[in-house]
């Protein structure tokens, strides 16, 4: 049988890294959206 040591663990790490990277992008974009909203109201004022 082919043994791929640590493959499962690496898979988990890739999943966690993926989630973290998505959250990071989301956080950045959310910040951008909030900034845009703020700028919009600033302009309005």
């Amino acid at each position: 049988m082919y043994i791929d040591p640590g493959a499962g663990a690496m898979g988990v790490q890739i999943l966690i890294a993926g989630i973290l990277a998505t959250l990071l992008t989301f956080k950045r974009n959310l910040w951008k959206i909030l900034q845009n909203i703020r700028n919009f109201f600033k302009l309005g004022a």
Binding site: Y2, D4, P5, G6, A7, G8, A9, M10, G11, V12, Q13, I14, L15, I16, A17, G18, L20, A21, L24, T25
Partner: protein, 464 residues
Amino acid sequence: MGENRNISFRDPDGKLELTEDGTVYRHLTPSGVIRFLQIRALKTVQSLQGSGNWIDCQTHPQEPTRLEHPRIFFPSYPYEWAQGMLRAAGLFTINVNRLLLSEGWELKDASPYNILFRGVKPIFVDHLSPVLRSARQMGWSAYGQFQRTFHIPLLLNHRNRIPLPWMLLAHRDGVQPETAFPLLSALGRFHPSVIAPIVMPTLLHRYCRVGPTPSFSLKAGESEEDAGIVTNRILRGMSRSLNTLAAKSLTSPWSGYDEVLTDKDGHQENLAKENFLKQVLSEFRPKTMLDLGCNRGKYSRIAALMGSTCVSIDSDPECIERLYQQSVTENLDILPLQVDLGLPSPALGWDNTETLSLIERMKGKFDLTLVYALIHHLLVRERIPLDAVVQFVASTTTGIAIFEWVDPGDFQFKRIAGPSIELYKWMTPFVFRKALEKYFSIERESTIQGGTRILYLCQRRPRA
């Protein structure tokens, strides 16, 4: 005997050689020399070397391919460590990796064999472990090995009470998630602490394997900065989960022995043993002491406070864990090791050369060997002949040893021997003295506890 030994040969860039006098040489290949120079220039390595947490390397201008490492007084291996020591070694590995990460490097492997302890201080000894990371790599290439060698053994020890030596003596490269999975109860498989290190890798391994190539490889992030943040987060998460695995309750049949001794006659016995040791320590000033059957290390602590470097051995993991915690808190020069003297650690690894046996490491290493309240355990539990025990103790010390004779009528002796106590009636002070005098000259003796125990200070006779 008399030959140098290759103790590490897995890294193609540098092999380790151990000489008879304990000096360690690292022989580098030409590419290894370049890597060594790059690694030595890293700020992380320099600062860790400054704090004594990274092994020193001496270079010889005439021989650039040979490095000399200072000897560590008593090398110890993961299967002899207390739970707290393996955890500390794991946290230390992650910390080193996080520091390296800030310079664009990482550790290429995560093995507890890369760490040795000087007292309770971890030292990173694999100088060639750091490698340059690919710039946008998200995650750590040794993540899987870290989980196998540190996280999973600690988890199984913490949750299922599986002794660490059972796992680490049998598996040099740790415990695979697939091996750990069936050990978890059906409900236990849903516990948050085991999902990432054990359950998910097992399921991925079972159901997501495609073909003969490795199924998963690290992905690249959007930018270098992102990759750094994600990797750092993963490492932080790993240290957090390791931190939650602190030893649970610390009780065992022997961990309360000191409290038992504070009752009635026990208090006097304790005090007498303490005073006897203190007197010997102040008179002989031994630099190194081996405490066999140390229990919670009361006497090791006294010796460490008086300036001796101690190696303290007991088979009870709880006692060793407590001693480790106490030594860390009080910053004592004590190396606590969990070893069963009836079954001492063997030499392991390829060709039995990668680790040294416990007996080999102990031979002629100590100025003082302390054998308080141990011999009756070895006689009764392990059926070791008295002469063999004395000979073994004599092999460990170059100077003096302290023995305690325990009368077969003593409460503790009776408790261990049970109904077979009649078999040990021969253990009189006369027989005990005769056994000691084969290898030692008796310098002093002190009768304690109404004559049921005698302490002997012995000087090792020169070897024939």
